[in-house]
Symmetry: C2
Subunit: 331 residues, 2 copies
């Protein structure tokens, strides 16, 4: 049997209540009693039972983080940074990986509710018509949550994300200024926020330059490496002078396809991504992309979450983090 507070109370010759106060560093306790209790606790390697404490304090000391993927270096880093920041705040991190399945997202939300998380950070999936029941439930239960990097349409909640519209606008503007006139935009389902906002940037850049574009230049696919490669093969026949992908993974796949088709980058065609994965600068050619400043995003997200934990009556708001162009060798 694990050593409980009762054991250390007995051993110290005090009551359980006194032991509890000593252990929790509460005021109004005799120095010597406290010292004694702490000594005993230390000698017996006492660890408080988290469940018992949580049951009575109604606090779990946990923040739930739901991410779509952890294999994607962008999210690896996001998780790493959140973990550090959350720990620094004295909380623990509970992690849920959905791999873009709304079903798993729902499951993790349920799980996290059971575990009484203080709040939730959610990176939405890319499912087309997501079932948001669990999210509505969170609202009705007044469990604070914040969307991170993107959000679901149709649900009022705080969001922290880079200004996707602005980021893509800058990228496309830059390409137009470089003389590109046949820019393809590789994205995912346009009903998704992360897709539609970026597309708005693409459109605005064209409009500002007085240029038109055809809908054929917009290609919808699944935003991963393999689909990037397939799309790249198709694109190779269309002779674009630039290709903008909504994330670096896609851009990598496209790049590989172009190489296999012996199309030179950036001589024959420019390729640009979005995210700025760690490895994108090691890639050949080093990828031009839009950096999402992860540390900044995480810090802001937690700041907003904590504000919600302390006061959940505030109006939902979207917080934009400035993206940053990273011009490298692929454009």
């Amino acid at each position: 049997m694990r050593v409980t507070i009762k054991d250390i109370a007995n051993m110290s010759g005090v009551s359980v209540a006194t032991a509890s106060m000593a252990l929790n560093d509460r005021p109004g306790i005799n120095k010597d009693t406290k010292k004694k209790v702490l000594e005993v606790a230390n000698k017996l390697h006492y660890r408080p039972n988290h469940s018992a404490r949580s049951l009575i304090t109604k606090k779990s000391g946990c923040i739930g983080l739901i991410v779509t993927s952890i294999r994607n270096p962008f999210f690896s880093k996001l998780v790493d940074v959140f973990n550090k920041e959350v720990e620094a705040m004295g909380y623990s991190l509970l992690l849920g990986i959905t791999n873009d399945k709304i079903k798993l997202e729902k499951k993790y939300i349920d799980l996290f509710i059971e575990r009484n998380v203080e709040g939730l950070i959610i990176v939405p999936t890319i499912e087309k018509s997501p079932d948001l029941t669990q999210l509505y439930m969170l609202k009705s239960m007044h469990i604070p949550f914040v969307f991170c990097t993107t959000a679901y349409y149709g649900l009022k909640a705080d969001v922290v994300m880079t200004d996707l519209m602005e980021g893509e606008y800058q990228m496309v503007k830059y390409l137009i200024e470089k003389g590109k006139r046949n820019i393809y935009f590789v994205t995912c389902d346009q009903s998704l926020m992360l897709s539609s906002l970026r597309l708005d940037g693409f459109k605005k850049a064209h409009a500002d330059a007085g240029l038109s574009f055809s809908n054929d230049q917009i290609i919808e696919t699944v935003p991963d490496y393999d689909h990037g490669y397939k799309t790249g093969i198709e694109l190779s026949k269309l002779k674009p002078d630039a290709v903008v992908a909504i994330n670096d993974f896609l851009a990598w796949g496209i790049t590989k396809a172009f190489k296999d088709c012996e199309i030179s980058i950036p001589q024959d065609v420019s390729v640009a991504g979005y995210d700025d994965l760690l490895y994108s600068s090691l890639f050949e050619p080093a990828l031009t992309t839009v950096k999402q400043p992860i540390t900044q995003i995480c810090k802001k997200t937690l700041e907003v979450l904590v504000k919600n934990i302390e006061d959940d009556t505030q109006e939902a708001k979207t917080y934009y983090i400035s993206p940053k162009m990273m011009v490298r060798d692929s454009t």
Copy 2:
């Protein structure tokens, strides 16, 4: 206030005990009563309080996973696979990221003890003289744990890892057979198991071929990209005909340094890694490496852990997973 089992008992017109039995699918309950209870629970979105349940059942339903890093794609995948497997077993995963700090490892072990994890999976740090107090405590508390991918010397416990000696042996043997006679071995502190076992493979391959080598060919450094680059710059002056790094990250850094020094791979020098990171095959030149079969490692680790959970009297053992040579363009 959250809806409790008491609420659903009241609403269903039964006692708490009956509600509990119905909810937990216990035998000896009237079909109709059960149906009624389940309906009410569902309507009120009842979620059992995990702390309360855990307090009484003395089970948390959690497995703790302590990894060194999550930014390293090898461990990203490891975490992803463990997460899936653990969920499939009906447990939840608690994650601790140490970034190779023994201090954090200790902290997470304490935290996980407090949370009553059923068992622990530990990827050891690379600190030179680690303080193993917490690990001894786990043993004394009969909380099962299994080391994964490598282990600490000086502590008897189950280990699941690829046969590092065998893997490196195959790699070096292959290079020797290719005619390499001046092979440098880039590793980390030799007091660490992950280093010394691989070095044994390096030595054995030389011995088997009747070749000798100088200690200068063994270079100790920190096994990451940046240190790989630095080492690569130094190596460029030494004119090796092959370089074997104990992980792919190191090999990437070395490769980059060689490129910057205009040394051609594999014409001037062969470079080999270990791990087989997802991106190593996309790298240029595609990296020759030794694959650690992650899924297999994870499954075996969990199998061993579960065995320990059910019966912790078994003798500690090391389980070897066969590594696999991946010959690509860099050698």
